[in-house]
Amino acid sequence: MIAAEGLRVEADGRALLDGVELRVPAGRMLGLVGPNGAGKTTLLHTIAGLRRPAGGRVTVEGRAAHDLRPRELARVIAHVPQETALAFPFTAYEVTLMGRHPRLGRFALEGPADHRAAERAMAATGTAHLAGRDVTTLSGGERQLVLLAKALAQDTPVLLADEPVSALDLRHQLGVLRLLRDRADAGRTVLVVLHDLNLAARYCTELALLAGGRLVATGAPAHVLTPAHLDGAYGIRAMVRPDDLTGSLTVTALENP
């Protein structure tokens, strides 16, 4: 469960986020959508405890995120960042196993349970065949999947993912979002930044539309994805209608006349 109350985040005296009120109960998957520079990643970072809010507060599983020590926080939240530096020749399996770091004592070696968690995470993300590969030789999409596997191996009640499908092909996009949705349906809290409104509408239980550091709308996809909201956030004319095949909403942006 994630809750943000009156959240304000500043950088160089400028407000990046202002008056953000957000509640994501366990068992839900919230899609964070909005135009570039809207503050999606900033909000994710603040919830992940990487940024200290200038006002308001964020609680995760009932505790203030930025007051937790990193080890404690990492047992509650797993975070898949947008970009990760991978310049050293670890194997994909070693990277996945690093997800177990917050659960291991300083002098402890990984035990059978840790190896099982890493193997399950790789199987779930379809990266098992990459286990022995050097991560510096993987493609962007493969790396994204391995980092997701690392976050799954962390085995936390809350999972944050910043554009987890940006480098993936269509099949893997659907697979990853299905995986995240299944996690939510199994009782975890999932918050995911997405650019693709159609995928967001199809897989998320609810959406939050962010623009200029403020929430334009939150709630069920049908409530958030309206032509008026989209015009307000993106400045576009858009058609929103149900898709015959998936049953969820699709958004088609139109060129301005």
Partner: protein
Amino acid sequence: MPASRPGDPTCRGRRHIHALARTPAVHVVRPRPRRAGRGGRLVRVVRPRPGRALGPLPAWTAGGLAVLLAAVGGLAIALGPVPVSPGDVVSALGGLLGLPAGEVAARDALVVGQIRLPRVLVAALVGAALGVAGAVMQALFGNPLAEPGVTGVSAGAAAGAVLAITSGAAGTAVVPAAAFAGALATVAVIHAIGAMSRGPATVLLAGIALNALLGALVSALVANAPDEQSLRGVVFWLQGDLDARTWEHVRLVLWPVLAGVAVTLVFSRDLNVMLLGDDAARAGGVDVTRTRHALLLLASLLTGVAVSVSGVIGFVGLVAPHVIRLALGADHRLLLPASALLGAVFLVLADTVARMTLAPVTLQTGVVTAFVGAPVFLLLVLWTRRRTR
């Protein structure tokens, strides 16, 4: 997802949109069954190979490298202007330890016990310190090319040591302490520059500037020193050497190096996670700021102590960790102890080569490591460029 592109006919009006809605793009939506293999279905359950997870590898590697170090050390003690047979080396070393050993000529016992053994020990300790400091800097600065010599940290240590000597500071521990302070100040500067300008090349460019600046400082200090004898000359500090190292030098570096390496090992797994970047490391449960500060302090200690007895010896911290990474992977739990041992082996060998070079050619230890290390550095530059392209 197909995005609406300018000029796309489906974007022009309501009628076309409607037409598109009635002819859905089935192939995009419906997941088709795929053949297994590379990139099979996401839910396919395959037991992954355990990769290079730590098994009995660390014990074997450490044991093997320790044996190698002992063998190389024995060889280094046996070789020299006065050759000592391997049997006599063992006997003389046994005698030093108070073991009942065979008879050894007094001259051989003296050569082994008072000249060669302390020099080999200093080489091993300095090599271990530089190997570990290199591995730590590569991880902290996120640059596989970082090491004490390249980053200018060794030059900072040398400047600190020379400053202490020329200002007439007394006491044996003062010089290593000043070298540590010099190394720490340089590390702080690099850290600050890195915080202001991110990018893999920053630390190397800063290293060029710092090496030039601190080298000039050392030259100026030595040139204007009142008593040049106490300084061993500018060459020693700019291009390190292990000539005439004694038990006093061993005593000076033994405990700081052993303690520094041991404490660094405690942070092995944190270093692994920190290689994923600051945000990912913090999200992964590492207190990034505190861990980085502790490790920068340790790398400065190791570099400073090493430089105070050997001058600036470059490339050990580059060669040792890279050979280990190529052979055994990047896991610091294995990389750090193995780099310490291999750094020791490398420097003992380099020093033996420097010592054995026949007159009229004179080579300093730092020259030999540079002959090996500089080509390795160039290969790594080409290699990392190709990879990141």
